[in-house]
Every structure is written in C-alpha cells, then in structure tokens.
C-alpha cells in the first residue's frame, strides 16, 4: 500500500502532447478513476505510472520512492489490462503465479497465495484450465487474481471491464468495489465511462486533451464542476448548456432571462459572454414551481421528443426564438433544453408549456475559457452562500 504522486508529468510524442503537466496526488488506499473521452491521455498517464512509458518530463513517486526511472517490474505495481492479456500458453495457475515464480518464492508460499487469490475472485477448481477454455468474465477474474496475488502497493486497472458485456460489467463493478474494501489497496482505474467512475471511485480525475480538469469526489465533480468540460462529461444525460450574456439584472439568453446580481460574482462584468448550465433534473414544469425554494421566471418552450425511461421521462424542449443551431454542444445543440420529469407527468409531444429552472442549481461558465463562474445563482437578495467559485486544484 502506498500513495502515488505525479508531479509535472508530461509525455510528448513527436508532435502530440499526450499528457500535459499532470499533477496528481493519490492517497494510500484510495480508489481513483481517471476518466475522460478516448484519446485524452488517461491511458498514457497510467502507462507512465506503470513504467511502460517513460514520461518526457516530471517525476512519479510511489510510496516514498521516486520510480520515474525504474522499470515496471521494480515499481511494486500490478496491472489489469483492457484486453485482459492472459498468457495463452499457460494455464490459470501458471498465469496467476507468473509474477511470484519470477521472484523465486518457494512452492508452498506460491500455492498458498494462489489459493487465496483464486478464493477472492471465486476461481476455485479452475486452476488447471487454459485461458481459451474460459469465458470473458472468468478470464477477467484470472487477470485480477494475477494482480492481487503479488500483493502490490498499487493496482492499475486500464478499462478492465470495457470488453465485457453490459450485465457482466455491472456485476464486476460491484465485485471490484468489494475487492477494494477487502484489500484496502490503492487503486487507479482508467475508464471512459463516467458512470463507472461515478459509482466506484473515492475521487474522480477528469482529464481532457492531456490536461487534468478536476480531481474531486464524484458528487463534487457532479455538483460543482470546475469548467464546462467537466460539467458536460460527468452526468448522463449531460448538462444543458445555453449561451447568453451578463446584464446588470442577471443573465440574458436569446429566449429567456435569469435574475441575479452580477456583483455577487467575482471576476466577471456586465456584458461578458457566459454559458448557463442546468442539469435535466433541475428543469421543472411551471406547475411544480411552488415546491422550489428558488425558481426562476417561467420560460416558454415547446416540447419536441419524449423518451420514457420507466422511472422518468426525458423531454426535449425547443427554446422559443432561438435560431436553429446545428453546432453540437456535448450531445445537444444549444437551442434546446432537456428536462427529466416524473413518469406519470401529463406531457405530450409538440405541445406548448412553460418551465422553470432551479436557480440554486444553475451553473455559470465563462464563454471563452469555459471556467466555472458560479454554481447556483440564487436571487439577488439571498446571500451567495453556495455560489462560491469552486477553485479546486488544476482548474485551468
């Protein structure tokens, strides 16, 4: 068990910067997910920690040792790969014990550890099978057993569930959490699936274009994203984004206005272009506005498409007056809103309704830099208690 520290780690390929000045401080026993879209550098970051790739600059520390220049075998890490990477010419026992045999453990010790590891991942009675005779889930468990048998300081998992079918993936997700609870070892987990990251990790490190955007507990990333990218990436379906500008009275978009006191916000001025973000579950039909502490003024919209999910209905709303806009912002164009409502709501397609937003859940982002300006723009009079700018580390 050990903490893992990355300081100014940069990995440059000929003309591409895969990882750009990454600073991470992962505590002992923590479960951290590196999450981001494909090609964002999260796997490269993990490879630098494993030692499979040498960083161009920066230092990596595991425990108290500077491991930047050590080969993978001397770093005390174990890794589970996306393609599972079991040695096809060895049976399960030989696969699991590979690392121990290389380190010249005696036979009884190897047997004892292999047995324990295969118990943990429920592989009893399969030790003499060859990998090709096993199902995907079983192979994945062998790969995990191979990692835990060495009792490493740090587990590295590079999208270990990506090649499994959806049902098995959810099951293995729970297994991994249980495993973490049982072993209490530091786990660094790479995934592009934000749901996986949200459900499993102690902290999420959101990475985009090789740069760390935010590293915080899942709910902080969800409720107080440091910038527009994190806001759009975390949460499914993703956050609504509407472009607007600051006026003396609040935020004005092409279709609606939100009242707030701009002076309560730091660093922005009247006339600045901003992006207003609101999650689908914080958009309500006007009828339920009374239940909200800080509803905004009603916004006239027309309903477009309904997506009943069973426990809720997603309603696509077209904003009146907004020009048709084909530029995609995340998953949606910025002239529409997505609202999630109760499944028993009385809403029809192509209908005219009015909706309100929960002002305490509105996020404002600088339109140019994408940095968060405020989370929750409660009306002028209210103290700006929860509108503090989340200035967490690495926010640029």
């Amino acid at each position: 068990m050990a903490n893992v520290t990355l300081e100014h780690v940069t990995k440059r390929y000929e003309d591409v910067v895969a990882v750009d000045d990454m600073n991470l401080d992962i505590r002992d026993g923590e479960f951290v997910c590196l999450v981001g879209p494909s090609g964002c550098g999260k796997s490269t970051t993990m490879e630098t920690i494993a030692g499979l790739t040498k960083p161009t600059e920066g230092t990596i520390t595991i425990g108290d040792r500077d491991v930047t220049k050590l080969p993978p075998k001397d770093r005390g890490v174990a890794m589970v790969f996306q393609n599972i990477a079991l040695f096809p010419h060895m049976d399960v026992y030989d696969n699991i014990s590979f690392g121990l045999r290389l380190r010249d453990y005696d036979k009884e010790e190897i047997d004892r550890r292999v047995e324990r590891a295969s118990d943990i991942v429920q592989l009893e009675g399969m030790l003499d099978r060859m990998p090709e005779e096993m199902s995907g889930g079983q192979r994945q468990r062998v790969a995990i057993a191979r990692a835990i048998v060495r009792e490493p300081d740090v587990f590295l998992m590079d999208e270990p569930l990506a090649n499994l079918d959806a049902k098995l993936r959810v099951h293995m997700r729970t297994e991994l959490q249980r495993l973490h609870k049982q072993l209490d070892t530091t786990i660094i987990y790479v995934t592009h699936d934000q749901a996986e990251a949200m459900t499993m990790s102690d902290r999420i490190a959101v990475i985009n274009s090789g740069e760390l955007q935010q590293i915080d507990p899942p709910l902080v990333c969800y409720n107080e994203p440091t910038n527009r990218f994190v806001a759009g990436f975390i949460g499914s379906p993703s956050m609504n984004m509407v472009d607007g500008e600051l006026t003396p009275d609040g935020v004005k978009t092409d279709t609606f206005e939100i009242a707030l006191a701009p002076e309560s916000l730091s660093g922005v001025w009247d006339g600045d272009a901003v992006t207003l973000g609101i999650r689908p579950e914080d958009v309500y039909p006007t009828e339920v506005a009374d239940e909200l502490a800080h509803p905004t003024a009603p916004i006239e919209v027309s309903t477009d498409v309904l997506e009943p999910m069973g426990d809720e209905i997603f309603v696509y709303l077209k904003l009146d007056g907004a020009e048709a806009d084909d530029t995609m912002e995340g998953e949606r164009s910025s002239n529409s809103l997505l609202m999630s409502v109760d499944p028993d709501s009385d809403i029809a397609e192509d209908d005219r309704i009015s909706v309100v937003l929960d002002a305490s859940k509105i996020h404002l982002f600088d339109a140019d830099s994408g940095d968060a300006i405020a989370h929750g723009v409660v009306d002028t009079a209210a103290p700006a208690a929860d509108s503090a700018v989340a200035e967490s580390e690495g926010g640029d």
């Binding site: 499979l52 080969p71 075998k73 890490v77 393609n83 599972i84 990477a85 290389l102 060495r150």
Partner: protein, 322 residues
Amino acid sequence: MATDPDSESNLGPLSRWTNRIITDQDARDRLYRGLFYAITVFFLVTTLFPFYWLLVLALTPNSEILSGGWDLPFLRPQGFNPAAFQEVFQQIPFHLYVLNSFILATLTTIIVLIIASLAGYVFGRLEFPGRGLLMLGILMISYFPPAAFLLPLFDAFVGNPIVAPFINVELFTPPRLVNTPGAMVLPFSALFLPLSIFILTTFYAQIPDGLEDAARVEGTTRLGALFRVIIPLSAPGVATAAVLTFISVYNEYFFSSIMSLQNEPQEWSPLVGGILSYQTQYTTEFNLMAAAAVIGVLPVVILVIIAQEKIVSGLTAGALKE
C-alpha cells in the same frame, strides 16, 4: 445448361461427361477426388523417387551399376548388397563427417536463433527511426551471392593481416580459422541470418503488446518477456527458422569444402565432403556414395518428423488471422 433431353442425344461422349460433371454432385465429387489423387501421386513420385533411386543404387554392387543392365521401366536393385552400408564406414570414417555437419548445423542454428530473436524483437516490436532502412539493408545483404564473400573471407581466415584498401594500412591480424568450425559457422550464421530475421520479425510482431506489457509489469525485463512470453507463443516460427537454418547448413558444401583445406574429418570437412571422398582419381564407388547419402539424410528426416507439426503451422501462420 444443356439439360434438354433432345439435345443430349446429339452430344459427343466428352460433352455428355462434362454435362454430367456440371449437373451431378456425385460425379463432381468423384472427379475432384480423382484429381486429388493424381496430383498427390505426382508429387509423391517426384519427391520420393530420388530416395528410392538412392536406395536402389546403394543395394546394387558397383560393378552392376557400371555395366548398366537396368530392367526398364521398373528400376530395381541388380543384386542385393546391404554390405555397402557397412563398407561406407570401413573405407573412411564417414560417421565423423556426419558428426561435423551435425555440429556445424547445430552451432549455426543456435547462433542464428539467438541473434535473429533479438533482431526480430527489435524490428517487430519497437518503433525507431531508420527501421525500414535497416530492414532493407538486411534484405540487400541476403541477395548477395555467397561466393562474393568467399575470397575476402578465405584471405582473412587463413590468418593474413587485414589491410585497409587504397591506403595500405595494416589494421589487424585475424586468428587463423581455417580447418576450425569458426571458419564455417561465422559465414553460415551471417548468410542464413536474414531469412530467420524475417521469419521471426513477422511472428514477434503479431504478439499483442498487452502480453508483453503484462509480463513486464509482472516482473520481467524486456528480454525476459521475449524469452518467457513472446518466443513460446511464436514456437512455430522459431521451429521453422531453426529447421530451415539447420538443413541449409547440414547440406552446405561450397564454403566448408574450401574452409577445410584437406578433405579430412579432422579438419571439419562436412557430410558432402565425406560422400565425395568415395570418388578417387580412378574409381567412383557409386553404391557407397548412395549408401552414404541415405545415411546422411536420416538425421534431417528425424528432425523434420519431430518438428513437422510446428513447421507446417509456421509456414502457413502468416496467412491466417486468429
């Protein structure tokens, strides 16, 4: 298709037969089977007849061979003289010639496999500038006729000092290697390396990166991953490279006949040299040469039978994707 019964009667026998092949599945199967056997027999005869002929020559006394009284068309031994297989060893120490070739082939194969494995790993699995150029260089060298190297190598191996061309500066004096295995194993290794490098490069390149990464994280060095994971998984390729190299060196005569100054087993004269020493200025003992050839082939036959399964999958492996 001309299946009309009216026109059927107008057709000749060949056309009727062709029609039946086209329309009748059973007839088609019979034709394919017939063709298969015909072609198989053709290849078996062309490959096995030389061996049969060697055996016939070995069993026929030399005087009968020279008188040429073969009863055509079926060539069979004229007389029965298995003592030739014994005489082979009595006239000269033929077993020492076989041993020489065997040792030379084994040494060369080991050297080639080690160097070609390292080269194959580098060319197959690492990205570096100039890789294509280096591969091209190896390919070019493999196209040189081996005879082109003979004179300079002989000059060096007899122990003459190496002189830089044009400026006539003496560089160094190499050890005298003629009549030792070194004079043969060195050029053989160099000549047969390119082929093995190409075979192993393609095999090693096919091993997924993840497996090597896994081995390295588990505790091997890059070299350890090569020997513990990549080579075992490329066994067919390694076997193919090994057998091709072994057979080539085992059968080699040109270099070794020159590098062993006298045709003596003590001077590392090879198998073929042994076979040729049944030929003297005045007599040629064809039956002994044939018997010696049969004996000399045996080690290779045994080797190929052992490695056969792996070689076949090795030669075809590149064509299939798993």
